[in-house]
Symmetry: C2
Subunit: 491 residues, 2 copies
Amino acid sequence: MTELSTLFEASLDPDSTAPLYRQLHGALRDAILGGRLTPGERLPSSRAMSKHLGCSRNSVTEAYDLLTAEGYLEGRVGAGSFVSRAFAEGWVRDRPGMLHGHSDAGPPRLSRVGEVLLEMGAGSLEESDDPRQDPIGPDPSAFPFDIWARALARAWRRPSPDQAFRGDPMGHRPLREAVADYLRKVRALDCGADQVMITSGAQHALDLIARLLLNPGDSVWMEDPSYRGARAALAAAGAHAIPVPVDGDGFDAARAADIAPDARAAMVTPSHQFPLGVTMSLARRMKLLEWAAAGERWIVEDDYDSEFRYTGRPIPALQGLDRARRVIYVGTFSKAMFPGLRLGYLVLPPALVEAFRAARMLLDGHTAMIGQLALAEFIADGHFPAHLRRMRALYGRRRDIMLHHLNERLAPFLAGPSGEAGMHLLAHLREGLDDSAIVRRAAGVGVNCQALSAYHAGPDRRQGLVLGFGAVREDAIPGIIARLADVVGQR
Amino acid sequence: MTELSTLFEASLDPDSTAPLYRQLHGALRDAILGGRLTPGERLPSSRAMSKHLGCSRNSVTEAYDLLTAEGYLEGRVGAGSFVSRAFAEGWVRDRPGMLHGHSDAGPPRLSRVGEVLLEMGAGSLEESDDPRQDPIGPDPSAFPFDIWARALARAWRRPSPDQAFRGDPMGHRPLREAVADYLRKVRALDCGADQVMITSGAQHALDLIARLLLNPGDSVWMEDPSYRGARAALAAAGAHAIPVPVDGDGFDAARAADIAPDARAAMVTPSHQFPLGVTMSLARRMKLLEWAAAGERWIVEDDYDSEFRYTGRPIPALQGLDRARRVIYVGTFSKAMFPGLRLGYLVLPPALVEAFRAARMLLDGHTAMIGQLALAEFIADGHFPAHLRRMRALYGRRRDIMLHHLNERLAPFLAGPSGEAGMHLLAHLREGLDDSAIVRRAAGVGVNCQALSAYHAGPDRRQGLVLGFGAVREDAIPGIIARLADVVGQR
């Protein structure tokens, strides 16, 4: 019988979270796999073992039982426990290498999709590092979490079995009805609740659209500049994103058709182009709809921040004009509520509902019910519009103050800062100024802004600053703009 | 000026949820797009229009303002509003078709992924129709929702900005630590919290694995019979699932290698094969690990119902034996908690963490924080193990009663019903009995069970009944089995 003290590579740790029997099980298993206990060898009696280890005999017998159940040991009645010959001779002796330590191979082989996402993701990892630095994010401190917590508790104290156990791949019906009602009223959409699918955020919605409608190699018109998340969704589907320069009238389908006549889809932000903020003209909307209607082409309308508009009336959504049912409308609650909620929605053409429903069921079942139930309560109790009004006023003030100070301090460097909606201002830079350099210098003095050029995918990269005001306290704005002014001029 | 009464296709509805100005806006827009208002035509004054419609003049001016902002109308100071020539002449007259009614094309063109999922999903749609009919689901009525609601409220009354606004693509850290701790202790996994990624359910985890690790055309070993959801994830990735018959010792890598030597991955349920319930022998585990270690191959270990075992000790997970870091471990909270929660987890080999983190960030950001925070509280307060103990006892009793009655009433038809774990029993049928026919007849008398043959993908389909007991009240079991006995014998 082996000398017990030589049996264990590491001694057992009474303070470990793992129970002693589990530690002993692991130690003996390693001893067997490592060949320190040889096939056919008899183990110490549970009494001897427990005495040696100073642990309860019960822990030892539990460990022996488990090792026997697994097949490492075989018990012979009255004779004790032995290292299994059947197993050990077959496996252990010639394979110590495989069973000792961890092999550290190089980078693992991923799928092409995995490689693409790893490469794209690596860059963005830092950016997303602090959400309060998100230039277009809402204000963490302004959300009524007390009311929210009550809605959660109310919704979940006594959920129906359906709510807790049966998720509709399309989403919680009352929430879908609230969304459809809101969109019809406020965004002039032409839709019913049957067309609404609740998603786990807008990014998830874009990913679903790309997966279910685009094949690898398909060309897709993208606004240039544009939202990087949309490009990621296309890349993951292997689709080919075609950047199309956006002018003052928004995205131009005629220009896009010259660049890529064979595109299968277009991803646009007609109400408030991201990040330029321009509105797509009616003529351009008609042209785009006509293009989609003429073939089996899809238009993805991302209405990412329609809730917040500070001047003039919100322009109705493109979807409401679409008679050919080619528009897929994407919205999110990340800005109106808070990003961690991960709730967004799709308004699908009726012909796509069944395919999306089936796909959700098979890919991830449905979006978690917890947030959906609480949000439906939050809306039903009238808290949602009230919250929007409060935030619109709050963000509106911050926008005005920031605009004022930009014009005061930075007029010589900027070409008309603007921002009718959303949570950011865009300030084009005058000839000769380098936005990336300014953004770096600004970060150095604690001012967070983004370079317009970084949102471009095409060759023609405009220089400008994307300045978020949503999460910036009013009294902090003058100082921020002053510090920005100090660095903008520097060479 | 057009006769006003002829202007509107539909009259305005004062009871509609849409405000009057919005209804008027829509009606005038359609009149312009439909050509009933011609380019250059002057609109009635807001006074005349409001008088005609019996609505406030304010509603009319709001509608006119919006139509002007959109470009349908152009205002001439003092002269009123006119249908825009610039827009209308360019677009409307030659395109009434496009702008009237909805074109109803045939089935839409989906991506190949979309087609595959639509086809697979169509079948499952009915099955998932009632979760309480889910043969392997938990009991809706036994979950402590009062405690859960308190955990939710506590977690969300005052969340940190990080919790509400910044989601870690890997998941809520305290929850990941709780999961890692639980898995090390209870399932003998070799892992730290850094390897744990919280997913939106186990199905979502399988989908991520398939997307990030498999290319279209890659072969993957699948247990036969097996979980249909796993096959769906592979199909969505375009991977080729190779069914490998499972025997009493579980999945056999040697046999699989004969069938498909070039496989890139294997999807297995070693602890409790689904749905057969057998445990993979130690020799088979070693063989499988050796195969993976020998090449760049992945093993997906689905430990779907490890929390519930009624006889003997739970066999430690395969992952704990894996020295080559080739095993990706998948778990879910759907059974231990409730399905609508949509929380599951992956334990990744360290080499895969960065790729999965980047992919989550770009594909869907992260799993919603709401359930994660509450679940972490629920676990921290000790409610989780307590709930598991209660459920294990409850389900254990139901299992014993069902087993007893099966043996009593159905012995002549069944070959040893069994079920050491999980929420279902498996009863192989004796020669000559057709499980699908029995399942249909059983449904006719209100008994829900599933045909073992339906879980097979390969040619050799065993005949048996999968009987769930998790959600069946104890006092209902004798009657259910009696009704089942009545129909099993029928020809």
